[in-house]
Amino acid sequence: MTITESDRTGTETAGDGAASTMRVQKRDGRFEAVDLDKIVKAVQRCADGLSGVDPMRVATRTISGLSDGATTTELDELSIRTAAALIVSEPNYSRLAARLLSTFIDKEVQNQNVYSFSQSIELGHQQGLIGDRVLEFVHTHARKLNDAIDHEQNNLFEFFGLRTVYDRYLLRHPELRHVIETPQYFLMRVACGLSTSPEEAIGFYQLMSSLQYLPSSPTLFNSGTIHPQMSSCYLLDSPEDDLIAIYDRYTDVARLSKHAGGIGLAYHRVRSRGSLIRGTNGLSNGIIPWLKTLDSSVSAVNQGGKRKGAACVYLETWHADIEDFLELRDNTGDESRRAHNLNIANWVPDLFMERVEKDWQWSLFDPKKVPHLTDLFGDDFRRAYEEAEAQGLFERQIPARTLYSRMMRTLAQTGNGWMTWKDASNNKSNQTGQPGNVIHLSNLCTEILEVTSNDETAVCNLGSVNLGRLVRVADDGSRHFDFERLGEVVRTAVPYLDTVVDNNFYPTPEAAASNARWRPVGLGLMGLQDVFFQLGMPFDSEEARTLSTRISEEIYYWALSTSCDLSMKHGAHAAFGETKAAQGILQFDLWEGAQVSDVERWEMLKDRIRQHGLRNSLMIAIAPTATIASIAGCHECIEPQVSNLFKRETLSGEFLQINRYLVRELQTLGLWDDDMANAVKRAEGSIQNIAGIPEDLKLLYRTAWEVPMRSLIDMAAGRGAFIDQSQSLNLFMESPTIGKLSSMYVHAWKAGLKTTYYLRSRPATRINQATTGTQTRPGSPSPSPTPEPTPTKSFSDAETLACSLENPDACEACD
């Protein structure tokens, strides 16, 4: 559309005419006529250096949406939203909107007489937000820190990223609700919360403001504040089979989720339905009523107004309440046995998978009769299970395939009921080097695997490297991945993850106890898809898999190496002697057939570790990065893109996102125009059936629905050899069936994966497109004019349907 087209075709006054009669209300309450010129100039200033954007277009559209007497703040907000909405015609409008927003934020901060970083910290402290230590630190080094602030770095933000920062991350005045820090002050505040010298703080600030690395949301929210709870994930062992223990656990969960932590909670030890309660001579109702209470408790905890609490409950596959458990998320049935806010996950032993394959029976037990099973894995578990079975201790038996099929159905219907494997998780962990150290569950996002017990609540704090910013263009125009810079980023980031272990605020003594012993951290990555787009590698290509594995090897290497350096300085973590690393066994040694690229380098590192120990028992975990990837403007963690065109729904509204790599390539070929944009929209973000797009681009720009899941799983297994915790691996299937799902999850198990995350599917019917000018389903046959109505294909048919992916979930605690 051109500017003239944006003039209204309606009967009333067109664009400019309306402007002269329209008034806005200024901040001081006075009214003033709307001045188109002024708006255009303001937009123009921000558009400097951005190709393809038209400030006039933003200004005229803004005015047309304005009602008489609107405030200047409303006018500003409207111009930002207007610019952001033009992203489809030209991705640079996203940058323009970000800059407009950046100006808007600056005004808001300055209106509170904050003109420097140190003033922002002072105001924050006055208002009871900033901790004393950080105030003193900033006070002492005010000049150095203020000078280091680089507002130019705001230009790196895409609109959605900056919007997220503004809406949720910047500290606000407790009463006025205005933000009191700019995006750059915010990053410097986070850095200062984790530093002891201004050089350190500035180094960390520069790393973050380059968007090459971001710590997880809890660290971004809370670093430097009076409540420095900076860890993302808490893993609680199952409560003991006892009323008081169960209620104590609710309290623990509430405490831990209050300050932005995500909760994983096992329930393996609590007796099943029908079990005798000696104290009252009654029969137990099993775990479901307890989980219903947990559900209410979790949703009641509002994490500082930033978001609601969230938890995932894990249950072993042999627990006699497993079938009820799998129905917790159904939206039909008895509401008193439903828990809509809880996530659920299966903690599956290999023995079960084997029996599914063999089509054998599976025995379900009351944990009261077999309390030892949950503390065993591998061959010990197998023996104990078979023994209990032989003794007839089970409550009942069902065909293993019946239960497996039920699990698959839950995944298809709710996306929940994640498959995580107990034996792979324990056998391939650094923490399980000694008997008694057992992993009982994963976390809210299935990337953390740490030992728990009644005395130890596992804790992990996370951060992610943005790979998307590490591709370099050589002088000859060729592109390569910058491994050297990757090493530097890891070496800079790891000490801060380690510092969080010390500076963190631990809401429960069990969490503090565990962190002191194990000091685990979770360094992850994001923007893998961005790397593949920039290097032109299809997601399922051999070269993509090789590069992905190589990147993970490099991250693991430098993370361990840095942890070893830290150990030389501060000493090894207390339980180092109990780990496999102490015996010279690293993650890839535990994966069958895994190879390293440079054997000698690893041997030297192993020697160094044996000699000096490690500061951290675990280094690597790939979190979903939902929000921090938005902030950094890259694709989430290890995921293929979900769509070339989609929107994000958040607490601050809806935002359009377009694959800017694709648009650039199509622009270069002269193929990007309104028609093409509409075609992509009609196809719900797929380009596979759009005429005129070259085949190599179609291959490269497939969506998660179009890339074979086998390749995704194999790629995950490839990098798994360098991930000592796990990865949040979402799987995508447009129209799931039990057959496809059961094949897929058996393959994932055989590939050696420790955990998987959501199964993402798409709705059966969809909303009619309101604006693309046609109601025709892509690919659907035209109606036939024969007398008998032709059966059109089912809406749920994968081939004919391109329907909307709505609300796939992602965990933000783990970002």
Partner: protein, 367 residues
């Protein structure tokens, strides 16, 4: 939608059939079954199935089952308390007042006027399902109003909107006019009857579900684009998805009738449709004048008019008529509704997952 743009209802092969007087009874005998979908009677046989498309629509509708309990209104209440301007508050009050009765009217029409005349058991299965969905929507808006309007008197006022608030009463009058037009018919014996029936169906599909609701959805999505009322938006998303399916069903029935009895779709009929949709646009615009009368930044009355015209044009196209307004969509946030969404489970529940999955355990299927 099965009605593609290039498909013109009014340039059909109507001339090939022998013209009958409009008042004469239609020949309805066909090997013991109803010959046309609009023939009177209660056809009961599902095999062989004459209109599998309706059965598929029924099955798909079931896969998209949702419940009101899944929607979390808690953030909405905070928004209403703290973030809403008085002008937006007025908008919301009018909007929920419309919603309070809108779906009930649709249900009534479905039962009293549509069900008995669509003579195919598979289509009636869909209508039964639709009826349930309408009830679900009524429940949703009931729950919404109970949450949004704590004051009991004020709440009762909102439910009485169809009588009290002129801009809503006007919409009501428009609807009842078309509803009553076939209320007295218990059988569609003549072409005139059938034309009246089709007009009723078009009124409900194109004007109520396809225009009034589209107008109402625009307000909801406008608010959501500003990050407001996520609970309302979440529920509306599901309602919108259902309404889209209802509209598609209705257009499919109309298309079926056209294929079976092309002579029903003559120029007079086309004129009636044009008049009806134009009147609906005026009605909805009058409502918009009321809703937006306090001035809402980002949503001008002029844009709303243009939006309604744009939507109406789409309905004309779907019915094989020339669009008469030539308006473009002015609302960027409505374009957002056409795009896949990606959200965060800390904020909203999932609406994408399917109910009803089939198959057996296997190990060698493609994935």
């Amino acid at each position: 939608m099965a009605l593609a743009e290039d498909h013109n209802l009014f340039e059909s092969d109507a001339t090939t059939s022998v013209p009958l007087a409009d008042e004469a009874p239609v020949d309805t005998s066909y090997a013991g079954h109803a010959k046309h979908i609009l023939d009177p009677g209660f056809h009961l046989t599902l095999r062989p199935m004459r209109y599998p498309v309706f059965y598929e629509m029924y099955r798909d509708a079931i896969k998209n089952t949702w419940t009101v309990e899944e929607i979390d209104f808690s953030d909405d209440l905070i928004d209403l308390d703290r973030k809403i301007t008085p002008a937006e508050r007025h908008l919301i009050n009018r909007l929920v007042a419309f919603f309070a009765t809108g779906d009930s009217i649709v249900s009534n029409n479905l039962v009293l006027n549509l069900y008995q005349h669509i003579n195919a058991p598979e289509a009636r299965m869909y209508l039964s399902r639709q009826l349930y969905e309408e009830a679900l929507h009524v429940q949703f808006y009931l729950t919404l109003l109970d949450n949004y309007i704590p004051d009991v008197d004020e709440r009762e006022q909102a439910f009485a909107a169809i009588d009290n608030i002129p801009s809503i009463a006007q919409k009501g009058d428009f609807l009842f006019k078309w509803m009553n037009s076939i209320g007295h018919l218990d059988q569609l014996r003549t072409r005139d009857h059938r034309r009246k029936f089709i007009l009723n169906m078009i009124c409900f599909a194109a004007c109520i579900e396809g225009l009034f609701f589209y107008g109402a959805f625009a307000y909801v999505y406008f608010l959501r684009s500003k990050g407001l009322l996520n609970g309302l938006a979440a529920g509306t998303n599901w309602v919108f998805r259902d309404e889209s399916a209802h509209m598609n069903f209705a257009f499919e029935v109309i298309e079926t009738a056209r294929v079976e009895e092309p002579e029903l779709f003559d120029e007079t009929m086309a004129d009636s449709i044009r008049l009806m949709i134009e009147e609906a646009v005026d009605c909805e615009y009058a409502f918009a004048e009321d809703v937006l009368k306090e001035g809402v930044a980002g949503m001008s009355l002029r844009d709303m008019r243009q939006y309604l015209e744009f939507v109406a044009d789409q309905r004309f196209s779907q019915l094989g008529l020339q669009p008469i307004f030539g308006s473009k969509n002015p609302f960027d946030f409505m374009e957002l509704q056409d795009v896949q969404e990606l959200a965060n489970f800390f904020e909203r529940t999932v609406s994408a997952y399917q109910v009803g999955v089939s198959g057996e355990v296997a190990f060698d299927e493609d994935f």
